[in-house]
Every structure is written in structure tokens, then in C-alpha cells.
């Protein structure tokens, strides 16, 4: 529930009050028509339509025709919460493919979706303006086109869902593009065909390259294709980064991280992101794909792989000896380890180190009776019991009842304490969302409290800037004619405006901006916890496998 609350707050930050209210209405009722929303929120229909339009444009809402012929709208809370990752996504695009990619991704995040043509056109213009301001040379649209292609090939961008039209040509529901088409660039028009550019990082190649050209040709001819950011791919990338950082910090060496990064890069192409264990990769392949500038010798790589498999078997394991040794990353295990570490530190900070001792004993022994715990943790029975029940009350520890007799009488029942990591992860996640919500609310309060002062400061800055410009213009015009007295006069003018904000107000402003920065930083750090827990839980969720078709002969 905290997640929904947070999502609505985020929606409000990004799209304003009305959209948040309408989002809330749709989320709480599951799905709703425009009319229902207008009735229950009391907002005029025209505004509701506008808000829903914005939600659909940004991919937050989906629509579908219900059996009465009206169009139902649904809101995906996850898509709203992804907005917390926006800065990370932009930064990631910049680090991977440079400024042009960042500009394009930013635009896509801002508008929700765009066609390639319009995107490249507007962003080339914007990028060139920026470059001109910095005094750099301009870039051609073809550069952006190439970057766009790379982003699509590496699955960071994908095609938008396409509306299905009814008989009268009206859009009634959305359909995700077929799997082989999602990441396929439309074939180029004959006039703009260029020589294919090399120099792409070796790991980032499309899985199904060239498989579906004919289908793509048919599709692009019919309509303009809209593109959007593929959040899941970015999240996967972040997840891999977390694993790399974990290895690097555990072994205290960047090179170890690079080895893992190389393996993971290879896995991106070969393994389904939800797979528990990646496809094994041979030693020689790792060696071939290792970045050259790392300058790692054969022997060093071998040693690092040995250290990795020995000290961190939950991350990297050796699955076979063929091909110089096959190595695989157990992504799920690694995430679980990280998650456990996170939860343990939460327990320590929340309940104290003695409780952590109890918690670890339960984790180690899996199912354990209370008397055994008391013995194992080397604590007075009473204290141990006290701490244990406290954790039980907060849902960090669970109990399994094992009745000896069918009447479940307490005296004839074993009570086995255990820790269900997924449940605990959910508890911690919910609290993190709650904390995040509190931080966001506090931040908004601080901002609104200091709004007047900030406005005043902005106005002051504008006035001073315009004055200074005026002065410099005068100086350029008259040159020598300006006396020192006049200059002094100017300075006095500027000082007078500066003194419009008192010392006390300055202090307050300083304090507020520091506080806001602090809140932002805590949001970021909370976000990293949330991200880890979410990606762990996302892996535990397996969509129900379809039942195998029954053999007609009954064998």
C-alpha cells in the first residue's frame, strides 16, 4: 500500500494535482471509464480527459474496451515508481553512449514516446544549441541516428504498444508489438542508406539480428513507429552494476569487478533476464571479451576467477572444466546474498546486535525451537525470549506450528521459529516505501515553506543580472566616457538590491537548501535499497507455467 501512496505522490510531483487525483481514482478502483472518474472525483470531464490523455501518452495508463462498449483505463503503479529512476537512466545513457544518447533518452522520458524522425530532428537542434553555447563544433543528425540505433539494438529503447482499431477506425485497446519486432529498427529509406558503422562494443549485439526483416518492412510501411524507453532493460543494467559493485567492494579490487562485468555482459545476450543462473561462459571467451585497456594477463585472469569461485561461490561458480573452465553467474543467489546482508543490517540497526545474533541463528538453523535458540545465542533465556518476540511482532521472524495431535493444543505443539526471506524482504520493502513517502512529503513541505524566500532570491538574481548586463552594454558603448564615479554608483545600486535579502533570510535559505539536499540524498540511498529488494522479489515471482497439453491418448 505504501508503494501506491508513494506512486501517487510521484505522480503529483511530475504531473500536478489533477492527474494525481485521477490516477488515485483509477488505481483504487482497478479500472474505470472517463465518466466514472469524473463522477467520483468531481472534476469536469474535459479535464479528466486531458489527464487520462497524459497518462496514456506516458505509458502509465492502458486502455481496453469493456463489454459494454466503453473504454476502461488501467494504471500501472510500477510504471509510476520507475520515475524515481529517471535521473539514473539519463546518467546511464550518457555514460554508455554519450551526450546524444542522453538527450534522446531525456526527451523520450519527458514526452513518454516519440517517433524516431521527430526525436532526431529536435534533439539534434537542442544538442547543437548546447554545443554552440560551449563553443564546440556541431554534430550531424546521422550521429544521433547511429546512437539511436545502438540504443535500440541493445534493447534500451523499444517500440510502443500499438492501438488496435475497431471497425470504425477508433482505437479501442493497446497491443504490445510482437516479440520479434520490439527491438527491430525499421529498414532505412533507400535514399539515406549509409555505410554501416563499426566500433560498437562487442557485447551489445542484438540477439535476433536480421531475423525478421521482412516483417519489419511490412510494418514500417504502414505507419509511424513510436519508441519508448525500455525501463526493464535499464533496471537489468542497474542490477548488474550492483552485482559488480558488490564483488569489487568485497574483494576490494576493481579488476575483480571488471571480470564479473565481462561475464555479465556476455550473459545479457545469452540469458533471459529472469533466469536464476546465467548461461555458462568459457574461460577463453571471457579472456577474449575482457576490455583491452584493462591489460590483464592470462594468469591474472585465471587467478581472479579462482578467487571469485572460492570466496564468493554464491556469485560465480565453475560449472564444468571444458573449454578452459566454464563459469556461470548465479544471479538469484547473488541477489539473495545481498538482500540478506541488507536485511541483517536493518535488523541490527532496528533491534540491536543481540537481536541480530538471534536472527542469524534462525537463518542458519532454518527451523528452530525457542529453547534451542536460547542455548545457541548464549544469552539469558529471558532476554533472548524478549528480543525474539519483539522481532516476531514486527514480522521479521515467523513461526511454524507443528502439532502432535490433530486438536492443535498448544501444549502438544512444536513452535518452530524460522525466517522467510521473501516475506521479510516484503516487510522491509514496504517500510522503505513508507520512509520514501515521508521524505517526499517532508521535502515538499520544506519547499513550500521557503517558496516566498526562494522566489525573492530568484527575483533578486534576475534584477542584478539585468543591471549588470545594462552596465556592461553601457561600458561597451561609451568605453572611455564612463568615469569611476559612475562605476561606484553602479556598484552601490547592485549592493542596494543585494541587501534586499537580509542576513537572516540568507541563513534561512542556506539552511533550507542544505536540508533539501539532505532529503534528496536520503531518497537516493533509500532508492538503492528499494531497488535491490525489488529486483530480488521480481526474480522470485515466476509467472505460472502453462499446463502442458494433455496427451489425447491419455498416456
Amino acid at each position: 500500500m505504501s508503494k501506491t501512496d508513494l506512486a501517487l505522490l510521484i505522480l503529483r510531483d511530475f504531473h500536478g494535482e489533477i492527474v494525481a487525483k485521477i490516477g488515485e481514482c483509477i488505481v483504487l478502483s482497478g479500472c474505470a471509464t472517463v465518466r466514472q472518474v469524473a463522477l467520483s472525483t468531481g472534476i469536469p470531464q474535459a479535464k479528466v480527459k486531458r489527464a487520462v490523455l497524459i497518462l496514456v501518452q506516458h505509458g502509465i495508463a492502458e486502455f481496453e474496451q469493456n463489454k459494454h462498449g466503453f473504454i476502461d483505463y488501467k494504471v500501472d503503479v510500477n510504471k509510476i515508481v520507475y520515475r524515481l529512476q529517471f535521473p539514473k537512466i539519463m546518467r546511464c545513457a550518457e555514460l554508455l553512449y554519450g551526450d546524444p544518447a542522453k538527450f534522446m533518452v531525456e526527451k523520450l522520458l519527458f514526452e513518454g514516446r516519440a517517433t524516431m524522425k521527430s526525436l532526431i530532428k529536435t534533439e539534434t537542434q537542442r544538442l547543437n544549441e548546447c554545443l554552440r553555447a560551449q563553443g564546440d563544433s556541431e554534430v550531424a543528425p546521422s550521429l544521433l541516428e547511429e546512437r539511436f540505433e545502438k540504443l535500440v539494438k541493445t534493447h534500451f529503447l523499444k517500440r510502443c504498444s500499438v492501438p488496435i482499431k475497431d471497425a470504425r477506425g477508433r482505437a479501442v485497446s493497446l497491443e504490445a508489438p510482437s516479440e520479434e519486432l520490439v527491438f527491430v529498427m525499421p529498414p532505412k529509406e533507400s535514399g539515406t542508406e549509409r555505410v554501416k558503422q563499426e566500433g560498437e562494443p562487442p557485447s551489445k549485439k542484438l540477439k535476433v539480428e536480421g531475423e525478421v526483416d521482412h516483417a519489419a518492412a511490412a510494418d514500417s510501411a504502414t505507419s509511424e513507429i513510436y519508441w519508448e524507453v525500455n525501463y526493464k532493460r535499464f533496471l537489468q543494467h542497474f542490477r548488474d552494476q550492483v552485482l559488480v559493485a558488490a564483488v569489487a567492494s568485497r574483494l576490494d579490487n576493481e579488476k575483480a569487478g571488471e571480470v564479473l562485468r565481462t561475464i555479465l555482459r556476455h550473459c545479457e545476450k545469452t540469458t533471459n533476464p529472469n533466469e536464476y543462473v546465467s548461461q555458462p561462459i568459457s574461460y577463453h571467451e571471457i579472456q577474449a571479451q575482457l576490455p583491452r585497456d584493462l591489460g590483464m594477463a592470462k594468469q591474472t585472469l585465471e587467478q581472479w576467477l579462482k578467487i571469485l569461485t572460492d570466496t564468493m561461490p554464491e556469485f560465480v561458480s565453475k560449472s564444468a572444466d571444458s573449454g578452459g573452465g566454464m563459469y556461470a553467474v548465479s544471479i538469484f543467489q547473488a541477489l539473495q546474498t545481498l538482500c540478506t546482508a541488507h536485511i541483517e543490517s536493518v535488523v541490527e540497526e532496528r533491534f540491536g546486535s543481540k537481536s541480530l545474533r538471534i536472527f542469524r541463528v534462525i537463518l542458519m538453523k532454518r527451523q528452530v525451537e525457542q529453547t534451542t535458540i536460547e542455548k545457541c545465542v548464549l544469552m539469558p533465556a529471558k532476554e533472548a525470549k524478549d528480543l525474539l518476540y519483539k522481532m516476531f511482532r514486527e514480522h521479521f521472524v515467523h513461526v511454524t506450528e507443528l502439532a502432535k495431535t490433530p486438536d492443535h493444543a498448544p501444549s502438544r505443539t512444536f513452535y518452530l521459529f524460522n525466517v522467510d526471506l521473501q516475506k521479510v524482504a516484503r516487510v522491509v520493502l514496504d517500510r522503505s516505501y513508507k520512509a520514501m513517502k515521508n521524505v517526499v512529503i517532508k521535502q515538499r513541505l520544506v519547499v513550500s515553506e521557503n517558496k516566498r524566500l526562494r522566489d525573492k532570491e530568484n527575483r533578486k538574481n534576475v534584477v542584478i543580472a539585468s543591471l549588470q548586463k545594462q552596465h556592461s552594454d553601457l561600458l561597451a558603448e561609451h568605453g572611455e566616457g564612463i568615469t569611476d564615479e559612475m562605476k561606484e554608483e553602479w556598484e552601490r545600486e547592485v549592493d542596494a538590491i543585494k541587501s534586499m535579502i537580509t542576513h537572516h533570510e540568507y541563513e534561512q535559505l542556506e539552511k533550507a537548501s542544505k536540508f533539501i539536499h539532505h532529503l534528496e540524498a536520503s531518497q537516493q540511498q533509500l532508492d538503492s535499497t528499494i531497488f535491490l529488494l525489488e529486483s530480488y522479489l521480481a526474480m522470485t515471482y515466476k509467472p505460472p507455467t502453462p499446463k502442458p497439453a494433455r496427451d489425447p491418448l491419455g498416456r
Binding site: 511530475f14 500536478g16 497524459i54 529517471f86 539519463m90 522520458l109 510502443c160 492501438p163 509511424e224
Partner: protein, 218 residues
Amino acid sequence: MAGRGRGRGRGGLSFNVEALHIQRGDIISKPGLHPPPLFPPLVHKPIPLQDSTPSEKTMIELKQEFLEKFRQSPFYLTMDEKKHEIERYSDRYQSNQQEQKEKWVPDWSMFPAELKPKKRKAQSTGRPNLKAARRTLGTDDVLSKLENLEKSTLAENAGNEEGDEEEEEKEEEDREGDEEEENDEGDEEEETDYNVNYFDNGENYGDDDDEDDEPVYS
């Protein structure tokens, strides 16, 4: 509890509490009747935040910039502010700010048709478009004149008995036409319609002369 009171010495619990490892002397907390306190005392102080790295700082700036951009964009909807009781001079400029946002034209083929705002036809101002009306009247006049002329020539050919009457009619019509021309000129000079007779004798009822001016109820 009274029904079960068979006099075992200990409390109201229906089972042997020692199975839960609660000893005789332990205090079992009473069931609480009050909600837990809103702000329970913080036993463990949280550890201080880690200092953010430079890249995190840039991301914070990015985020704030991005949010600001959203706030200025057409994707940000705010409630209409309540009109102040006293109209203030500054209000004019505040209302302008919303309109200054850059326009966003969605690709309507991607959205359900119902989301598209309907374009209302401009409501008629209540004042008939005199000029247009008169211009059509004028052509009618010409037509009727021509008809009359035709008739008259035919009549002249047939005989001169009714000629006088015809001529009189013609003269009358000419006079009317002149008057109307004068009216036209007067109208162009000053846009008033004081000298126009608004009386409608119902002759033109059903004529679709001023289709455009009709109010649309939809």
C-alpha cells in the same frame, strides 16, 4: 470466563502457559485497549547518511531540473485557482503563465477517440450578420427584377393595356432598390442597425440563409 471457572488457580488462559516458556513470575502484558502511540520513542538512532558521491550530486541536480521542466510542460495540470473576490492587477499576469506553456499536439490515432476534446462551433453573438443577409437579399432582388423585366417585355409584346401598372411596379421596385443601396452605404459608414426594420413577416422562415449563425446544441 465464568462458565469455565473450574477453579484452577492460574489466570484466564485455557492452556498451560509453561509450554510457551513463560515462568510463574513473568509478567504477561495486558491486552492493550489503546492504540499504540503515534510517535513511539526512538530506541535506536539511525546512522547518519553516507556522503553522496559527485555522480550522485549530479543526479540530484538532473532530477530537480527535470522536475522543473515537467512543471513548465503541458503534461502538468493544475487546478484552476479560485478567483479572488477582489480582482487584482497581478492576476492577469498569473493567468497568462499557464497559457505560455508550449503546445502539445498529441497524435490522436494513438488514443481512444473519446479523449479528443470536441471543438465547439463558435456561438453566434446574437447579432444577425446584416451584411451577408442583405447581400443575399440583393441577389434575390436582381432575380425578381429580371423576372419582372421578362414578364413586362412579354406583356408589352402581348399588349400595352397593363403597361402602366407594370411601369409603376417597376418604378416602385427601383425606388426600393435605391433606398436599400443607400442603406448599405449608411451601414458601411457606421456599424449600427438603427435604420433597419427588424420586423419579420415570416416569409423567410425555413430559408437556410444563415446556417452558420445558428447556435449548435450538442
